[in-house]
């Protein structure tokens, strides 16, 4: 027996259209499952390259600062988050110029670390360092920060010298809907974030806009207004292929004062930065993935002014054009594969062009360029279930640093379940940035003897050799994990500038860069995390350092460049009913003041946050009150850059 011919699709659709309201009212039957729900293939979501390794398997000591810690800390500046990692020093040159160093910090430029945002190096190629408040990056979009505490050029490329800061933003698919957040507080703090996430077919996207302003430190002329806009699109091309596109723009208006130079008037400078990044990922499995990435960063510092009257020159005022435009273009290919179960390989290659235009610093209106290429490979081999051997190497060539080979090797030995020892050795180089390699910095007045800093010849890359012994322990019964390391670091050929007699020097003397400084650092870092349940979390880190250094003319650039002791604590508690509280304590013993030879006293800082979260009618609302530097523990320093107690309130509303 056969049923009659089925009705046409149109008729079925029409009939359904008529029936639909009735069915809905009566409770339309849900669709039925098909075997395809079991048999369909899925794109790889959590591939090896996207997952942080567990601490016991990492070749270097690693700290992960996750979203919960970011929110609980109450920090509104990205570099402050690094206070949560052992060994990291965070200091301020002024309200909007922050500096971060690992074990040592001598000036505002974080030159000795690699900083990546979603795999894009945000190192500024002209003067070096990371212009943190110029980054087109909203702290609200950060998913986690992986901090690799040690040199790791083999995995993270050039400038992965003392440490690597790997900032990972949230995938667009997790930020669907509208989110707005406003922070209002003392010191004229006003911040507004607006984010919208949506999807179109296989495309997930997110747009974030932010406006931030504050009056900086009380005794400084360092007001800041920043506007930023970022876009991220994640497009699934097919089962195995995906594209990530990111665009960002940041424009800032930043006041400047004369703390360092009385010839500099109080004025406002403009900064613009932008980037474009495109990454294609071809994931055949979690262990077999190809990526191709290209990006471009541009930083513009529109910094020009007319000096105050110069008495020595009869009251002349000199126009100073300190504008800098830098561009970085980078392309990288990477392949992760596992040819056999115990062996995992990563290899890749990259090319880069840095281009800088800064007439004041190079005495030319033309672009100064630095081209480089790199080849890298990393192998992870497990000869025994308790032993993990990791070895990597990067071969790098650049115009400023010639050819260098950065190797790294480590062995992780799990001597008992949950207890692992790690022995790691690594060497890395930091190529001179363009200004260190070929400076020609003159006082901007057409007189013969106007040289301030001259090119004294080839500058070698800085070199670090690091050896550390680590222990990673998990104690599930008491919900505690411990990470400890003893380390020795030899930093050679460190680049500093020194004074020397010069026939064209302004006072018969001029500055020049040289590789004459070196430092030996040893110490211990201890971290512990206690998470008895979802409602409580407690993190603590302690660092002890010994720095020995010597340099030309005993200028002491690196002596006391780090504190003897550092401690940080973060406690998070959920009270129930949507209430939560957190407190952070950050301690640094005395060390060299930023940008000067002076020593500053030890610093204590306590931050506290109280928040309430609730979800009425499909909305997520969080109200928070944050007190930074609760005990107003400050001191007078040359920079006068103390963080006074600051209270701010925050409201965050999410509509999905």
């Amino acid at each position: 027996m056969f049923v009659s011919a089925p009705p046409s699709r149109t008729r079925v659709a029409a009939a359904l259209g008529l029936l639909l309201p009735a069915l809905t009212c009566a409770g339309s039957p849900p669709p039925l499952l098909s075997e395809q729900d079991w048999l369909d293939e899925l794109p790889i979501v959590l591939s090896a390259s996207r997952l942080p390794q567990p601490a016991e398997n990492t070749p270097m000591a690693t700290t992960i600062i996750d979203r919960q810690m970011i929110e609980a800390s109450g920090f509104t500046e990205v570099p402050d988050l690094l206070r949560l990692a052992p060994g990291f020093i965070v200091n301020y040159e002024n309200g909007y110029v922050q500096a971060v160093g690992y074990h040592m910090l001598i000036d505002r430029y974080s030159r000795q670390m690699q900083v990546l945002v979603d795999g894009r190096s945000v190192y500024e190629p002209a003067l070096g360092g990371v212009p943190w408040t110029d980054l087109p990056l909203a702290i609200e979009d950060i998913e986690r920060i992986e901090v690799i505490r040690g040199p790791n050029a083999a995995s993270f490329g050039a400038n992965s010298f003392t440490a690597v800061i790997n900032i990972i933003t949230r995938q667009a698919v997790l930020d669907q809907g509208l989110m707005t957040k406003i922070n209002l507080g003392e010191q004229r703090m006003g911040e507004a974030y607006l984010r919208y996430g949506g999807s179109e077919g296989s495309l997930d996207y997110r747009v974030t806009a932010a406006y931030r302003e504050n009056s900086g430190f009380d005794d400084r002329n360092d007001d800041m207004q920043v506007k930023l806009l970022t876009l991220r699109g994640d497009y699934q091309l097919g089962l195995n292929d995906s594209l990530m596109l990111q665009l960002g723009h940041n424009s800032g208006s930043k006041a400047r004062d004369n703390v360092f130079d009385e010839l500099v008037p109080e004025y406002t400078r403009q900064t613009y930065s932008q980037f474009q990044q495109l990454r294609w990922t071809h994931a055949l499995s979690a262990d077999n993935e190809l990526t191709l990435q290209i990006y471009h960063n541009q930083n513009k510092d529109l910094n020009d002014y007319t000096t105050t009257p110069i008495v020595a020159l009869g009251g002349v005022q000199v126009y100073t054009d300190a504008r800098i435009t830098s561009n970085r273009w980078d392309a990288e290919f990477q392949h992760i594969l596992r040819p056999a179960r115990p062996l995992r390989l990563i290899w890749g290659a990259g090319i880069r062009r840095d281009s800088v235009n800064a007439p004041l610093f190079f005495a030319t209106g033309s672009d100064v360029e630095n081209d480089s290429w790199r080849l890298f490979s990393n192998a992870e081999y497990r000869p025994h279930k308790r032993v993990l051997v990791n070895a990597g190497v990067m071969l790098e060539n650049s115009d400023t640093g010639d050819t260098s080979v950065s190797p790294r090797a480590s062995i992780n030995y799990r001597f008992m379940p949950n207890h692992t020892l790690r022995l790691a050795a690594s060497r890395a180089y930091r190529d001179p940035f363009v200004f260190e390699e070929s400076p020609d910095y003159r006082f901007p007045l057409a007189i013969p003897n106007n040289v301030l800093l001259f090119d004294a010849g080839n500058i070698d890359p800085e070199r670090i050799t690091s050896l550390d012994i680590g222990y990673v322990g998990n104690f599930p019964a008491i919900h505690t994990s411990i990470d400890a390391k003893y380390f020795r670091e030899r930093l050679d050929k460190l680049i500093t500038y020194n004074n020397t007699p010069h026939p064209l020097g302004l006072d018969g003397k001029a500055l020049f860069f040289s590789n004459d400084a070196r430092a030996r650092i040893s110490g211990v870092e201890l971290s512990a995390s206690y998470r008895p349940n979802r409602a409580n979390r407690f993190n603590i880190s302690y660092t002890h350092l010994d720095i020995e250094s010597d340099d030309r003319n005993n200028s002491g650039a690196f002596s006391d460049a780090g504190p003897d002791n550092m401690l940080n604590l973060l406690a998070i508690h959920e009270f129930g009913g949507g209430y939560s509280g957190s407190a952070g304590y950050y301690y640094l013993s005395s060390m060299k003041e930023l940008e000067s030879r002076g020593i500053r006293a030890s610093q204590h800082r306590v931050d506290a946050r109280l928040a309430r979260h609730w979800s009425p009618g499909g909305r997520d609302i969080t109200l928070a009150l944050v007190v930074q530097n609760l005990f107003n523990d400050d001191e007078d320093t040359r920079l006068r850059n103390n963080i006074d107690r600051r209270v701010y309130g925050s409201i965050r509303i999410g509509i999905k």
Partner: protein, 325 residues
Amino acid sequence: MSLLTTVIGKHSRRACSPALWLGLALLSCAGSLAAAPDLDILFVSSRTSTDYLGFVDITSRTLRRETGRRIATTTLPADELGAGMQHDWDVIVSLGSVAARSLRKWDPASPVVYTLIPGSTYASLKTTRQLACPRDQCTAIYIDQPLERLFRITRRAFTGRRQLAVLLGPVSARQKDRLRQLADETGFSLQTATIHETRELLPALDGILKRAELLLSLPDPVAYNRRTAKSILLSSYRYRVPVIAYSKAYAEAGAALSIYSTPEQIAHQTARLLMNFFADRGAGLPGPQYPEQFNVQVNHHVSESLGLELSSASVLKAGAEGGGQ
């Protein structure tokens, strides 16, 4: 009507292209004339991809090898069923949901074994009389795992984790009471969230993952599909909550652990069921059954990254089987 692959005697072929289908159809006629088979089986397949054709191949080979009888098998895509088809098969094996529905339209007279079909779909089609079941002679081998098995393996794999979250959609919500009962029996504290549209997914996930230690996934067309997999896996990872999933693809995509049966395993079970049926036709077909064989796949990257020390899949599987099913 364009037939079919027909395989006679010891010969066996897979067919994919129309030309090959036609060629095999002709071969079928020639073969039929040459020697009458002992048993005549019709496979009706929802698709002609490897999973389905491999299923037919394994079932046929196993039957021939184990019984030693001359077995003719005919494989027909579900959309090719229609008038003019012979009706006197010894048994019809349906592969997948589309095939199951097509058979109702054709209304065969032979006993039917529904395979590669979700239990809920079989039950729903049968209740609503959308399933061909001539003289009450039909049964099923489901593609899904019994919930008891999922709970037992989960408990064994994640010792110490008792906060179990389940995200439900319109289809899987029907199992809510059974889930609660099993959670009570196995010592889990269960939390569920039910969504009716995909846009409710992220808030619902945020709600349950905050307190969860494990996320058990159950197939549902709204809650779990290719579009939602990314959100579910990324969100769960963000909360450091391992996902227990139901397919090989999920384990590869990022679930910490997956429990599933392959079409091959179900094909072997189908062959065994048919052998028993042919040995004693008077006893009729047995009742619907879940897959006897299954795999436990651990995603080592994910589980290690979450700091989990999952026992090897074989140990988990053995443990679960040891518990009796």
